[in-house]
């Protein structure tokens, strides 16, 4: 995308990413940069990524044993993928929907699957969850409904 074209030396890019409040560690992997940030300030991240010309591609939720949810923010910059890995606190995390239109549907879907409360989302209603299921049905599926894979 054109707004992503400005060339930023890699060392400067990493410095800007690690300066985001809550960024703890950066890993350079074959599929892009991974920022490990358990206490990430997601709104500060969104502002900085916008300033860098990055596009929010999607977000991934992963259920954790302690009841919290790992949230991965996947961004794309022209020739690079940048991922921020953080977690909810008390089942909640700030919503990016008021700042970023594409975040709205993504957050609604994660709310459907993992019952994450996206604080500040203007319309956190079900997106694709069937009405007969409860929010968070990816987190704790009914064991009786699980059919083991055939061996």
């Amino acid at each position: 995308m054109e707004q992503n074209d400005a060339v930023i030396p890699r060392v400067d890019l990493i410095a800007r990413l690690t300066a985001i409040p809550g960024s703890a560690q950066v890993e350079e992997r074959c599929d892009g940069l991974w920022m490990l940030a358990p206490q990430l300030d997601v709104e500060a991240m969104a502002r900085e990524m916008k300033a860098l010309g990055c596009r929010l591609v999607t977000m991934t939720g992963l259920a954790r044993d302690d009841g919290e949810t790992t949230i991965i923010y996947h961004y794309a910059r022209r020739h690079e993928a940048i991922n921020f890995k953080t977690a909810t606190s008390g089942g909640a995390i700030r919503s990016l929907a008021p700042m970023l239109r594409p975040a709205s549907w993504i957050e609604r879907e994660i709310h459907d699957f993992f019952a994450v409360d996206f604080v500040g989302h203007p319309n956190l209603i079900p997106l694709i969850r069937p009405p007969e299921l409860k929010d968070g049905f990816f987190r704790d599926p009914d064991p009786s409904s699980i059919t083991p894979a055939k061996q």
Binding site: M1, E2, Q3, R29, C30, D31, G32, R55, L56, V57, T58, T60, G61, L62, I72, H74, A76, R78, H79, E80, A81, N83, L100, R101, P102, S104, W105, I106, F113, P126, L127, I128, R129, P130, F138, P141, I146, T147, P148, A149, K150
Partner: protein, 359 residues
């Protein structure tokens, strides 16, 4: 007096179930809302209960149009976790299959667009061409919808007669260049029906985060094949097609010109098909603990898979984000201020895939 028309979720004008609620004043659209989820199948959750190999078969059923892209992107993510290097011949075969899939998807869409415009002769012409692509896909894979070509570490089938395939796509290239592209680009019917309709400006395209032909038709030059090259796209070269107008016609033109670029890529890949094995290993894959993302340019735009493994027999997490998931919400920006009668054409111009969106 404003009034609201609910279109769908089950409606003859929609190929798949989703709902568009349109609030109008006279014939002008003032407000739009879109509801999805009517064909939710829980494929992400199901994939986490399947072993890796049957998981590929399941993932291929996310979509009936871009089935190959889904299984391939899932395999690429698993291969990244396991550090598996796919043999060059398999890489080229995946590239050829991806572009044949784009060809049939764009031709399917072009035929439907012609029908929406009331251009029946063009519809027949385009669908006859698409049938040739389907025949070629069937000749290669044995299937017309779910091709079963991809496996973790390579492909299941070889392309045994590249010379015949080249002859078929070259014959198609002539028909597309001489008939289809001019019909969409210069015909008075097409221009009159599409130009200026359903405009999405470049700024709006960036704001809504749209991808694929929808983004490129608004002047946003993004394409995973160029941005983050994979398969054989770097070796074969690739030219992004963009338009600046951002209207329905621009979306048609982008897809029409992409047909020619796909044919060029298929031809070059078939002519330069490397020799060698089809897969990195025989038997079952061993996917160690880890996580990876893989991005692919599907016919409708960028697809991303996040796959995590805990070293077990099944994936620990499979996350799928399809292009329609980000393109459909932008219908709001395209339709407000437009005529009610143009809604079906505008929504069709996004080429929405509800199977992909709902999974």
């Amino acid at each position: 007096m404003p009034y609201t028309i609910p279109i769908g979720p089950f409606h003859p004008a929609l190929e798949e179930p989703y709902k568009v609620s349109v609030k109008c004043v006279a014939e002008t659209v003032e407000q739009v809302s879109v509801d999805v989820g009517f064909s939710f199948r829980g494929i992400e959750l199901l994939a986490q209960r399947r072993e890796w190999v049957p998981g590929v078969t399941l993932i291929e059923r996310v979509c009936g149009i871009c089935s190959n892209v889904h299984s391939m992107t899932f395999c690429r993510a698993a291969e990244r976790i396991a550090g598996i290097e796919v043999p060059p011949r398999a890489v080229y075969i995946r590239t050829i299959m991806s572009e044949l899939e784009r060809l049939h998807s764009h031709l399917l869409w072009a035929g439907l667009a012609a029908e929406f415009m009331g251009f029946q002769t063009l519809f027949m012409e385009v669908f006859a061409l698409r049938e040739q692509v389907m025949d070629l896909l069937e000749a290669i894979s044995g299937n017309r919808v779910n091709y079963g070509m991809n496996r973790i570490g390579g492909v299941n089938r070889d392309i045994t007669d590249p010379k015949s395939a080249i002859e078929i796509v070259q014959a198609m290239a002539k028909a597309i260049a001489n008939d289809v592209v001019p019909a969409f680009m210069t015909s008075v019917t097409a221009r009159g029906r599409m130009a200026g309709t359903g405009r999405l400006t470049k700024e709006q395209a960036i704001e809504w985060g749209v991808v694929g032909p929808v983004a490129r038709a608004s002047g946003v030059d993004t394409d995973v094949r160029d941005d983050q090259p994979y398969l054989a796209y770097q070796e074969l070269g690739f030219k992004i097609v963009t338009q600046q107008e951002g209207d329905v016609r621009a979306r048609v033109v982008v897809r029409a010109l992409e047909l020619l670029e796909s044919i060029r890529i298929i031809t070059d890949a078939l002519r330069n098909l490397p020799s060698g094995p089809l897969r990195a290993f025989e038997g079952m894959p061993n996917i160690p603990p880890g996580e990876a993302i893989a991005l692919t340019e599907a016919p409708r735009g960028e697809v991303i898979y996040y796959v995590a493994s805990d070293g077990g027999r099944t994936p620990a997490r499979v996350k799928i984000r399809t292009p329609s998931f980000v393109n459909i919400p932008a219908l709001e920006a395209m339709t407000i201020g437009q005529q009610l009668g143009d809604i079906s054409l505008i929504q069709a111009s996004v080429d929405p895939c509800i199977s992909c969106t709902d999974r």
